[in-house]
């Protein structure tokens, strides 16, 4: 599904990613861990096409398409979704109008007619239940006045509406209490089809207790330095990153 080869990227003049290689197959969940500032969010932003990040070298192939030649919205239409670390407030744009625009843009890209109003509202109702999000939030502006937990739930709700094939969860667990974390993670698991892949960025083992990864990668200083199974996350939880860094220095 996703093939990243020798990816280098920078913000301004500062090189953040220094040669990433990563392959994610259909249905696989990959966890990405690493120290602050290692480049985890940069990698996710580069995959979704944030214009503030510049790719200087390398390639990303998504289902046979050259992702780097596509703009942000085209990547979204191709099935890529990112749950934001800090979801953005958009005053004056209601959740309903925002979702309608997003859903219909995707349908248009697929050559489908826009959804009828009644069908759209029905879909909203159904998906809302999955993540236990209140109807009154739908009449508000996007993320305006939402609590931290509501924002993260809202991200998963949007994922439910857009039905992506590849999801990036960028620190979806940050700022969530244990109950909210469970609701968000269970929501994600309910939505996932056998073919859906995900890249889960997190600092903690806890999220991975709910969303079981097939692989765990460790990103340090712009490079993936270690890859392992779920037990690697547990080891990091217990011992931190120092032992990995030491290993690198001795090598």
């Amino acid at each position: 599904m996703l093939e990243i080869r020798n990816l280098h990227a920078q913000v301004g003049d500062k090189e953040i990613l220094k040669g990433i290689d990563l392959t994610i197959n259909d249905g696989e969940i990959h966890a990405l861990m690493g120290t602050n500032g290692a480049g985890k969010s940069t990698l996710s932003n580069v995959i979704v096409g944030n214009p503030n990040y510049e790719v200087t070298k390398g390639s990303i192939i998504f289902n046979g398409q050259d992702l780097l030649s596509m703009n942000t919205e085209e990547r979204a239409h191709a099935g890529i979704f990112m749950s934001f670390q800090a979801p953005i407030e958009i005053p004056g744009v209601s959740m309903t109008n925002f979702m309608r625009a997003a859903v219909n843009a995707r349908r248009e890209a697929q050559g489908k007619e826009p959804l009828k109003s009644t069908d759209f509202l029905k879909m909203m109702r159904e998906k809302r239940k999955l993540v236990e999000i209140d109807q009154k939030l739908m009449n508000r502006s996007v993320n305006e006045g939402f609590s931290g937990g509501e924002r993260k739930r809202n991200e998963i709700f949007q994922m439910a509406m857009l039905n992506p094939t590849f999801c990036i969860l960028d620190e979806t667990d940050s700022g969530l209490d244990v109950d909210a974390l469970r609701i968000v993670a269970e929501g994600f698991n309910k939505l996932r089809t056998p073919g859906t892949s995900a890249l889960v960025i997190t600092h903690y083992q806890r999220l991975l207790d709910y969303i079981r990864p097939h692989f765990v990668h460790v990103l340090i200083d712009g490079k993936i330095v270690k890859t392992g199974g779920p037990d690697l996350a547990q080891k990091i939880e217990n011992n931190g990153f120092d032992w990995i860094k030491e290993g690198l220095m001795n090598a």
Partner: protein, 426 residues
């Protein structure tokens, strides 16, 4: 003096007798004085404080041909030609308007017909009074429109004044308007309009006044509104520039007695080379009055938006509450905004605030929407629309508010001229 005044002075010297013949005594009584005023002061240069942002001379320089066609009015119990006024209008006509302003002076000397809206004491006009200024004609034209609005004691009314392009019979059907040679020509003609609206709101009267402009990029408009408010009254003035060429709106308010309120709202949308300049001055002359101003602009391409608003709290106007806000969204790097909020206070027990903001598109919001698959152009439209929402939300007359939601969104999509449910427009 610049050259551009010359043609208007000469025109008046030649045609004043014809204008007076077609006009009425109350208008003629102040005409020559207005002419002398105009002759001596001429058009304002950009050194004149209130005209800093609009180049008057260039707009008035061409010879448009001055229209002396009488106004057609649809029969209504509240609308009259000034000459048919049911009350003595000489204590009102040209009393609030200030002919020291050259545009007002020019309008006073050239307008031969005026429209009076008179609402008798304790009368509540249920449905809004709508005035449509249809711009049409085979040739470039200059029009000088004049309105006098009087709300007597305890009267209430909603008035909607619209500047539009198509004549009504043809606007109904797209096929007709498409085929109409008259409309075809109207769209390509240059129109220059001066307009003076005088409003006198007696005690305990309530007015909701809308001015909506939806013209073409070849239209220039100079509109001066003067509002005098009595005791326990309220006036809302809403200025909405949906589409225009060059527009300069002036609004002067005099709060002359206690416990009254005035609200000025403005919505200005500019693209291409459009120019929108709003200039307000609120005179707080009496104690315990309130004024609120909210003007919002979205300027794109190379368009220019200007706002200058002054709150003047005179000595003795204690317990004044006044708020002035101008917020601007610059949607392109070439668009320009000039903003100048001003406060001048001579009383010591007041609560006044003024502020302005100029911002650009929120890049992080754009990215968020695009990640969800909303194309960039659509995302920009949503953001502009959201920004303007505050002004449209504050519109009191519900059917108009709903209509403007649609119109503003269409404007941002560049589809303002497309009609509803029309196959040809799709």
């Amino acid at each position: 003096m610049m050259k551009s005044e010359k043609q208007y002075i000469e025109f008046y010297q030649e045609a004043s007798s014809i204008i007076k013949e077609r006009s009425c005594p109350v208008m003629n009584a102040v005409r020559d004085a207005a002419f002398r005023q105009f002759e001596s002061s001429g058009f304002p240069t950009r050194k004149v404080e209130r005209y800093r942002y609009t180049d008057v001379d260039t707009v008035f320089a061409p010879n448009y041909g001055i229209s002396l066609t009488p106004i057609t009015i649809t029969p209504s119990p509240f609308i009259f030609h000034l000459k048919d006024a049911p009350i003595n209008v000489s204590p009102y006509y040209n009393r609030v308007a200030n002919t020291k302003d050259s545009i007002t002076a020019l309008n006073t000397m050239l307008s031969h017909d005026a429209l009076l809206i008179y609402v008798p004491p304790y009368t509540k006009v249920e449905s809004p009074i709508a005035i449509d200024n249809w711009l049409r004609g085979k040739e470039d034209t200059m029009m000088n429109r004049r309105f006098l609005i009087i709300l007597d004691k305890g009267a209430e009314a909603t008035i909607i004044i619209s500047d539009r392009m198509a004549p009504p019979s043809q606007a109904i059907d797209h096929h007709l308007s498409e085929a109409s040679p008259l409309l075809e020509k109207s769209e390509k003609r240059k129109y220059l309009t001066t307009q003076v609206i005088e409003v006198c709101c007696h005690d305990n009267a309530h007015l909701d006044l809308y001015e909506i402009e939806e013209t073409t990029s070849l239209c220039s408009r100079f509109s001066n509104v003067y509002i005098k408010v009595g005791r326990d009254s309220s006036v809302r003035h809403n200025s909405i520039t949906l589409f225009n060429g060059l527009t300069r709106n002036l609004c002067d308010v005099y709060l002359t007695d206690t416990n009254s309120q005035v609200t000025l709202n403005g919505c200005a949308i500019g693209s291409a080379n459009q120019h929108i300049d709003n200039n307000t001055l609120i005179h707080h002359q009496a104690p315990c009055c309130q004024s609120n101003q909210l003007y919002k602009y979205v300027v794109d391409d190379q368009s220019v938006g200007a706002f200058a608003g002054k709150i003047l709290v005179e000595k003795g106007a204690q317990q004044t509450t006044s708020q002035e806000t101008n917020a601007n969204l610059c949607a392109s790097s070439e668009a320009r905004v000039y903003t100048q909020p001003m406060l001048e206070i001579y009383a010591d027990d007041v609560k006044c605030a003024h502020g302005s903001t100029v911002g650009v598109m929120d890049e992080s919001a754009l990215f968020y929407m695009r990640q969800r698959g909303i194309p960039e152009a659509e995302a920009r439209t949503l953001l502009k629309n959201a920004f303007m929402g505050q002004v449209i939300n504050s519109i009191q007359y519900e059917p108009l508010r709903q209509k403007l939601y649609v119109k503003v969104e269409k404007r941002f999509r560049g589809e303002l001229d497309k009609c509803e449910d029309c196959r040809l427009c799709k």
